[in-house]
Every structure is written in structure tokens, then in C-alpha cells.
Point group: C2
Chain length 210, copies 2
DNA sequence: CCATTAAACAGACATTTGTCTGGTAGGTCA
DNA sequence: TGACCTACCAGACAAATGTCTGTTTAATGG
């Protein structure tokens, strides 16, 4: 094998190209070169050409900034040219604690805007009719900001006994209540705070009418 | 005035630059030149510089493909690298017939995915509580596909007597009814079809919980 | 040991591309 | 009319950029 771990730098080059495209335009060969501290243009070129070879990039030969992302690669997790727009993973219907790991294999991505870049967001599909009164219907998609600190009255995703549900949070003296927004359902009253695990706060509701 | 209507070509150049950025990278000055059939590079350059002057574009002097979209402008109407994603104009609260022209100056843009590229989409902010039962609350944003042919039972945006409203459409024999989804409101029954102008069909509902 | 390979280095060349200077045509306005 | 403006044309130069040839180093495998 070569002096440097094989493919190690290669992926970093790929990531760099993606970043640069997200900022407006693909980098030049020399920009890649200098970013990685290569002292020869050819070094950067070899990596770029190798990435084209394995299909991770495409190129328009002879043209400036000719390296592009292959079709379909664009909308997976980031968005070129739209810094205020983010693709958040849709984790599907929540089931037993598998939530945190489910990010590895999302069912899809949802475009979200107007959220700070550092916000840890994900999306869920809502089950049940317990939040009808808040305009959240079964099948709706909720965008959730992963945070433990929530305020009274906010709609949250909470994990109770391994089951994740969407409810409105009520902080009473000494205990927590999870209120449905439907007269047919009863509030969940929790004695100790350990029973409930606040996964995050619902920041957006979305419904597609096919 | 000049030989050609002022600013006419200018906007087309701006649109072209946006298109090209959406396809992966900004165009070169000469690419703009040839696309518009200019026989001199300077013609394209003048338009581009003028657009920079008026803030419609930014540039990185001296660098290849240096023209970019200004920050915040990135998400206005298109999305680089994400063909299945579109930005649709938010036309704000609908008022008297101004809807069709309002596209010129949208209040913002909303990211939408999963809609065919040829669909003519726009977004509206919902007023009133007449659709509570359908999970559409005041302040919600609805994404509308502009189409006149609608089916029975679909939620539509209809223009009645100059006022635009969101209602569920009921086609009865000989007449049209616009049903609210709220017991406190009454259906609108229309005798002739001329009174009502179907602006389009609601394909998505969206709500931000700040 | 030697051939092979991947990675990086060195230097150069040709094309692409941004930029500049100057000129022409048609229109407005004082 | 003449000053002035916008749009466009013509030609050229210099910087940026893609591409090529050859060399060196280190690790692998027969």
C-alpha cells in the first residue's frame, strides 16, 4: 500500500467538494490542492479524478470548476446554495428506544428552513388522533428539535415506557403531565421525572394531501 | 432610451445565472454571452456587473465563475443540486383578485418536495378558523397547486366575490358547494359556476411552532 | 531482490476565463 | 443641435485554471 492510508484523504476531498458546492460553486483543482496543503496540483487532481472514476463525482472536462455532484446525490442531507435550508432525516414512526440510532437509516429527508444551523432536527410521522385539537392529524409529519429543556405548554415528543408520543407538556408542582389535545384521551400524569424522557420539541407540523 | 427595452435582458440574465447555479455551478461570462447570442463578451459582462451593482448578484473578482447569488437569495425559487426540491413563492394572505399578479413580489419562499416540476405551485397563509376540523389552523401555510379541474371532496382555494378562501369542495348536481370544516360556519352554496373561481388545490399544510 | 502500485512532488503548457480600452448605434433631454 | 445614456460590438491582454510529462517515496507481493 501507499505511504498514506488508502482512500482516507479521498473522502475528505469528496466532503470538501460538497461543502464548496454548498457555498455556491465547486472548487478549482488548485483550491483543493491548497486546502489540503498539497504542494503539487497533480495530487489534488488525482483524488478528484479517482472520485469521478468511482462515481462519487462527475466532471465537465476542460471547464473551470468542472467537478459536480452526480444526480441524486444532491438532496441527501445538505443543500447547495441554500445555507438557510436544511434537510432533516425522517425517522419514521417511532418505536421503542430505537430512535437515537435510527438516524443511520432514515426513511427520507424533509426540507426545513428558518432553523438555526446548530439545531439538531429530525422528523417523525404521527400516529394516533390524540392531538387532533392542536391540528395534528394521524399521518402528519412533525419536525422535532432534539432538546431536553422544554417549557410549559410546548408540544413535545416524549418517550414513556419505551413508547414515543406527541403531547402537550404541562409542568405542575412536583410532577409532569402530558396532555393530549383530544377529549377522548386522558392526560398522562407522571410522578417522578425519571419515567419520562423528553426527546425534543415539535417545531413544525406538516401534512401532504395527495 | 436605449435600442432595447431597459432592464429587459437584465432580468433574463439574472434568471439564467440562477438556472445555471441550480445545475451545479455559476456560468462564465462567455457562457452568458453565447447563451444570449451576444457577439461581444463585454455585453454579458455589463449585465452581470449591473446586477451586482443593484444587489441581485454578488461576485468574487478574478475567479472563474465568480458570480453568485447574494445570501438569502439562495432559496428564492430554485434549489441547486436538488431537482426534486422546489421553492414555491409565499403570496401572503390572499386579498381581492391580486393573487395572480402577486407572484411578482412574494413575501418569501417555501421549500416543497415531491411535486412534479411542471406543477404550478404557490403558498398562502390561512386566515380564519373555518377549516379547524381538517387540521388547518389560522396562520398555517398551505401549498396550492394552481389548477381549475378539481375533484369532489378536495380542499381547494376558491375565489368568491373577490375574496379567496380555503374550503372543501362539494360538487352537487347543478351547483357547487364550498364546505367549511367547522360547525360554526355555514357552507357556501353557489348556483352558477361563474361566481366561483377555483384558484387551485391544497396539496400541503404546514405550521411552524415558534 | 525486484516489479508493481498508490501517493505525492516538480515544472511546464494550453485553454479557459476575467478584465480592459476603445468604438458604434439609437434614444432622451436640455 | 449637442451632451449624455444604454446597449452592443471588436480586439486584446493577463490571470486563473485544466492538463500533461516525468520524478520520487513508501508500501506490497512474488
Amino acid at each position: 500500500m501507499p505511504a498514506t492510508p488508502p482512500g482516507q484523504t479521498r473522502r475528505q476531498v469528496h466532503a470538501y467538494v460538497r461543502e464548496r458546492i454548498a457555498e455556491g460553486a465547486p472548487p478549482t483543482v488548485r483550491e483543493v490542492q491548497h486546502h489540503f496543503g498539497f504542494k503539487a496540483v497533480q495530487s489534488a487532481r488525482q483524488h478528484l479524478e479517482a472520485l469521478v472514476q468511482e462515481g462519487a463525482l462527475t466532471k465537465e472536462p476542460g471547464r473551470a470548476r468542472g467537478y459536480r455532484l452526480p444526480p441524486g446525490e444532491g438532496s441527501a442531507g445538505f443543500l447547495p446554495g441554500a445555507p438557510d435550508l436544511r434537510m432533516v432525516p425522517l425517522l419514521g414512526r417511532v418505536q421503542a428506544g430505537a430512535l437515537t440510532e435510527a438516524i443511520e437509516d432514515p426513511q427520507g429527508y424533509v426540507p426545513v428552513e428558518g432553523q438555526p444551523a446548530d439545531a439538531n432536527l429530525f422528523a417523525l410521522t404521527v400516529r394516533g388522533e390524540s392531538m387532533l385539537g392542536a391540528g395534528i392529524l394521524p399521518g402528519d409529519t412533525v419536525v422535532v428539535r432534539r432538546q431536553h429543556a422544554v417549557r410549559n405548554g410546548e408540544i413535545v415528543v416524549a418517550q414513556v415506557a419505551g413508547e414515543a408520543t406527541v403531547k402537550r407538556l404541562r409542568l405542575k408542582r412536583g410532577h409532569v403531565e402530558l396532555h393530549p389535545e383530544n377529549a377522548l384521551f386522558k392526560p398522562i400524569v407522571l410522578d417522578g421525572r425519571d419515567e419520562v424522557n423528553i426527546l425534543g420539541r415539535v417545531v413544525e407540523v406538516r401534512r401532504c394531501l395527495t
